[in-house]
Structures are given as C-alpha cells and as structure tokens.
Amino acid sequence: MRGYSIWALARNALTGHAGWPRAWRSPRPRERYEAVIVGAGGHGLATAYYLARRHGMRNVLVVDKGWIGGGNTGRNTVTIRANYLREESIRFHAEGLRMWREMSGELGFNVMFSERGQIDLIQTWAKLRDVKRRQVLMRLAGVPFEIVSPEAAKARVPILDLDGAKRFPVLAATWHPSAGVARHDAVAWGYARAADALGVDIVQGCEVTAVRREGGRVTGVETAMGFVVAPKVALAVSAHASVLAQTAGVRLPIETVPLQAFVSEPLKPMLDCVVNCPGQVYLSQSDKGELVIGGGADGVPSYVQRGDFATIERVVTSLAELFPVLGRVRMLRQWAGAIDLCYDTSPIVSKAPVDGLYLDVGWGSGGFKAIPAGGAAFAALIANDMPGPEVAPFALDRFATGRPLYETAGASNRD
C-alpha cells in the first residue's frame, strides 16, 4: 500500500496524476476461503481489516451485491457519539470514539473524523429524565457529557431559535464534546484499501443468494459467481440479514425499515457541532457546506430504499420550528436507506445457532458510529469463535432467555 500524503500529491501532480495505484484490486472470488464476510459496507470491511491485521486471517473474502459502502454506510448521516442509555452500550461506543480518533492514521486515508461535539435539545420531561440517567452513566464511563441550559445550547448553535411561542420549549440541552462526524464513503474506502493491502479479496457486484449448511455447520455461500466454500460465514448486511439468515434456517428479531435523510445546498459555515432533537430532527454541516439532516424512520417495514414524503414533511417541520432561519435554505437531495431495527433496539453481535455463522446486525440508525469498534469486536468473535466481553451483552440468546437489552437512544427506536 503506497502512502498517501501531500508529497505524493505533489509528485503525482507533475505526471498528471498518472501514477496513482489502484486503491484495491477487483479479483474474482476463489473457490475457498477461511472466512466469507457478506457485505462490503463499513462493518464488513472493518471486520475484514481487523481479521487480517489483528488475527492474522488474510484468506478472507468480502462480497457484496453492490459497491463498496453502497448500503447504509454511504447513505447515513454520520453522527458518531457515545451518549447511550445502557452502560454496556456506552462503554462499547466510548471505545469506538477512541478508535475514530486513530482511524485516519491507522488506515493512511483521511476519513475526516471531526470531533466537533453534539448538542441534544431536550423538549420533554420524559427525555429530561432519560438524559439524567445518561449523564451519570457517561461520567462513570469517563466520557464527558453534561446537561446545559437552553442558552448554552444557543451559544453553540446560533441558528437555534429559543424565542417565540414555541410548541415545545427547549427545557434543557446536553453537550457531548467528543461526538463528531466523519466522511462516510472515506471510512468504507479506507478500510477497503487497507484490507485489500493485507490480502483480503473484495468482490463487488456479486450477490450472495444463500448461506449453505450441512447439519448444524455452515459450509459456504452461494453467490452469483458460484459456490464459495468457507467454514466461517459472517453476515454484515444490515437490513438484508433476515433474508440471508433465513436461508440458513435462522429467524432474527429484526425488522427492515426505511430511514430517510436529506441535504441542503452547500452553505458557508454556520453550524459547528451536531444538533439532535431526539425523535424529531438532527443535523450537522458537512465540510462541503451541506446541511445533513435526518429524522425518525418511516413507520412501515419495507426493503424499498425510498421514503415517504410525509416523513420528510414531518422532519422538515421540526427543522423549521427550531431553526426558522433555515426556511429559505433549499433542500438539494433526499434519499433513504433500509435499516435493521432490532426488537430491543440494541445490536446483535453474536454467534448464530448454526456453527460457523456469525451475525452483526440490528444497529438500526446507529451503525455508522460502530464501524471501528463493531468491526474489531466482530473480527474477534469470528477469529476466536467466542465473543469478547465488549459484545457479550449483544448475544442473540438474550431473546431466548427473555433478557432483551432495551436501548432508547437511536433516532429510529420506538417506545
């Protein structure tokens, strides 16, 4: 892997940039691998990278029906944070924040992680009770997080309008300084390039149609390019996990739901942190200047990666209420992803009831932030056939024993 740097740029400028090597190969799948990871999104690619880097497993295939990062990685609104409600989740995501800071250096690829902090606006008493719990747990986990006044929030978010007869006055806010954003595609590309350099095969445009098993063991995957033998198969396909798991006879507590987002035209800098108004609308400004805006998921399960206009109206209404000055700003593009909502709104990073099948699913609207920590933990699970302590709470069997891990921090989480 040749290094990327300003010097390399300058050198290449002299030759009209003819000398840049490919970021990754485009191989055909071989017959047999140590492990097949289905899904070349952030999670699948990070998992492959950590398998190769930390566990010496390089004979690995990452296979995707689309392109690198083309699923929820390339569609999401990139908020990276750790202000969860369960201690297990907070500790997991706190480790994630640490990995995000190291990522550009580790991958030799600028993923533009921008630790700009997050303001959450609290408009209901129930939510205020909720953040009081978070405040204590965040402190115990050593992640700075404080409840601040509406005026303090306004100081960080000048476009916020606290005056006037607001339908839901801002009661308080929280400040989570280590939250941030990153460039979504770059994360997928950075991991892809690094994994490829370690020998991982990444095959795009090749759909996996079924997981094959013999008895209680996985034997490989059927793909559009033929059968691939592998003793270990890992699913990192978010919303499509139910369909693939079903081919191995596994039924998951997952529902596939559209989640929409949209961007404004690019503006000069006017918002320096992430703002979240739980359940209604959240936004940040990309380095390009676009406001990146999202809200809750659509109400009807669907694999269609298109959203409902009523949802857009609802989210934009919340936006205009809190930030009336954005009324004249124009929406440039809207889109939708299909997210994997888990029954208890916590993820599943787990062995499946079939030997050799591993699941990384159920991240809902919050999967992007979990790419490094989730990929590392999933890789360890695959390599050791045993979960590490950080993901042990996220095992699938929590449902069989009636101990779901309810988490109510995601944008699209219900109840």
Partner: protein, 74 residues
C-alpha cells in the same frame, strides 16, 4: 408509501394507519416461545400484515403487501 386499501373507507393515506407488520400473534405454549415473541419473518417480497385504521373506521386489516415494492397485492 402507497394508499392503503381499506374495505370500509376506500384507499387512504398511510398516515391514518398503524402498521404492525408481520409481528403480532399470541403464543399459547412454551415451545418456540422466543421465536414467536421476538422473531420476525421480515421477508423481502409478499408479506401478510396487520394494519389498524386508527384515524378512520378503526378496523384491523389483514393485508398482503410486497415489501420489495410496497405494492398491496390481493
């Protein structure tokens, strides 16, 4: 989303409904309890769903919809 075909009220905006998806049901025994409570078919393609016409006739509808296209199918 498409208009939801309500047999009482005609085609109506989805916002008038609550969609329960393929969840629901009432387990009666211990066998397969976890599957029944938490598992979802979550199929890509035709699914049998329950919809409640909350802001309408309040009827619970059993509808077939293609989750890959959102079309209601007979």
């Amino acid at each position: 989303m498409r208009l939801v075909p309500c047999p009482d009220c005609g085609p109506r905006e989805p916002g008038e409904f609550v969609c329960l998806g393929d969840s629901g049901g009432h387990p009666v025994g211990e066998d397969g309890l976890a599957e029944a409570l938490y598992g979802r078919a979550n199929a890509k393609g035709p699914v049998e769903e329950l919809w409640w016409h909350k802001f309408g006739c309040r009827r619970w509808l059993k509808l077939r919809r293609n989750s890959a296209t959102n079309e209601f199918v007979p």
